[in-house]
């Protein structure tokens, strides 16, 4: 066990050394594959120029608004469809029709409807996380133990509205939150994709850099996205574990 703990950092080190070696040995031009040693300088240029902070804040803004809206709508619709079978039937074909459409396929419409704007980015992100949350919440709320529903009814918690807060939401919280967590990653993909079309943020900055063949800057932003995703995931898991502490 104690030996295995070193395997993860060792793997990363081997990966970085290999990456460094390929352009250094002249196997590939450093323009096509910037070595990791060139990244701190590129990172510093982006920071001191102010671009990095602006782009990161822009992206975080799109990300949080789109994520909150998409997650909220997805969870609310999913739970509602699980609880009211009329709504479930009503939505079933709409869901089948819209769900297979990839989020990015909405980009042309997002631009036509909202222009190259924050709203367009938000829209793409909302679509990107909506279905994951819809299905996770629907499944979790459908799977609530019927014995607990019977318990609620026998003590006067009759009807869906009186069972929603005390039974349905806590009983399905774990499933809902696993959907939200998947959405956290999806939303980062959607944010970058939307910005590649020119909406200000990390994606746009990456496009600018790549058109100037500043590949080291592109890598800086790739790593930025990975780190931001990692941080949101760590924060989310921390919050989730506190929220679900009753699960032991």
């Amino acid at each position: 066990m104690s030996n295995r703990r070193w395997l993860a950092p060792l793997g990363l080190l081997v990966f970085l050394l290999g990456w460094e070696a390929v352009p250094r040995l002249g196997l590939v031009s450093s323009l096509l594959l910037p070595p990791p040693s060139s990244l701190p300088a590129a990172f510093w240029r982006e920071i001191s120029g102010g671009w990095w902070l602006t782009a990161t804040l822009d992206s975080l803004g799109h990300y949080s608004v789109g994520l909150v809206l998409g997650t909220g709508i997805g969870v609310a619709l999913g739970v509602a469809a699980a609880l009211w079978s009329d709504l479930d039937s009503f939505l079933s074909w709409i869901v089948r029709l819209l769900r297979p459409v990839p989020g990015l396929a909405w980009v042309p419409f997002a631009i036509v409807w909202f222009g190259i704007s924050e709203a367009a980015a938000t829209f793409i992100i909302v679509i990107g996380v909506l279905w994951i949350n819809f299905y996770a919440s629907y499944g979790a709320a459908k799977a609530v133990d019927k014995d607990l529903i019977e318990l609620a009814e026998s003590f006067g918690h009759k009807g869906v509205w009186r069972q929603l807060l005390p039974i349905v939401l806590p009983a399905s919280a774990s499933g809902i939150l696993s959907g939200v967590r998947t959405g956290l990653g999806q939303a980062w993909m959607a944010v970058v994709a939307a910005e590649l079309f020119g909406i200000p943020g990390l994606g746009q900055r990456m496009m600018q850099a790549s058109s100037l063949l500043a590949t080291d800057v592109v890598v800086v932003y790739m790593i930025t996205i990975a780190v931001l995703y990692g941080l949101t995931d760590i924060l989310f898991v921390w919050l989730r574990d506190r929220l679900l502490s009753w699960q032991r």
């Binding site: 014995d147 607990l148 609620a152 003590f155 006067g156 918690h157 039974i167 009753w246």
Partner: protein, 255 residues
Amino acid sequence: MATVVDIADLAIGFDNGPPVLASFTASLEARSFTAIVGPSGVGKSTLLRVIAGLLAPRQGTVSTPFEADPTRRPFALVFQEARLLPWRPILGNVLFGLEHLPLSASERRRRALEALELVGLADYAHRWPYQLSGGQRQRVNLARALAVQPALLLLDEPFSALDAITRHTLQGELLRLWQATHTTILFVTHDLDEAVYLADRVIVLGSNGQPGARIIRDFLVPLERPRDRSSVGFSDHVGQVRSALSEIMTNGAGI
């Protein structure tokens, strides 16, 4: 003795299927302890759910002649499994039953703590369900029902999943609570020994060859308390119930 619940000609069935219970009529007197025994599948648990108002009967009525007290529930069910809400501490689980009664928050809390006190778990109010043993969870299940001060306490094989030692302890506890709270009890079990040990009256359900169960026998158990399971009188009564049951089983129509 005043009647607490009148159950008149109750028939129960699902959809268009044959009746589960063809006919059930009984009056339960205040402070009485009645046990219902019968082969599995005879509709004992379903009967409790109809009395509790969770299922509608096909025919017949369940009436409660006493004055309705809005701060109490007419019926409370103790389930076979504890059915505790894992996201609530023990006190929160007992409070769950009180949330739709017109009581102040402090009165709810007082009643919940009192019920936990009754089952000997006052010190566990702030623990979580997963920290309790199976027997302790069944005590919480019981406390949750006692807290609503039901006119009739319905118990659905509440001790059947426990080990013999815990079961005997909890049987004794239930008798103590019954005497302390003056509540009326209807107790479903398939354990004849348990029925005779606990109840004043034992109703045997079976199907007697026709579709749907009905009352096969209705005994009184006039044994003095505390009862001695090893006494001759006790074995006699268990024997009577057993022979009533084996009669319907040998008729080939137990279920």
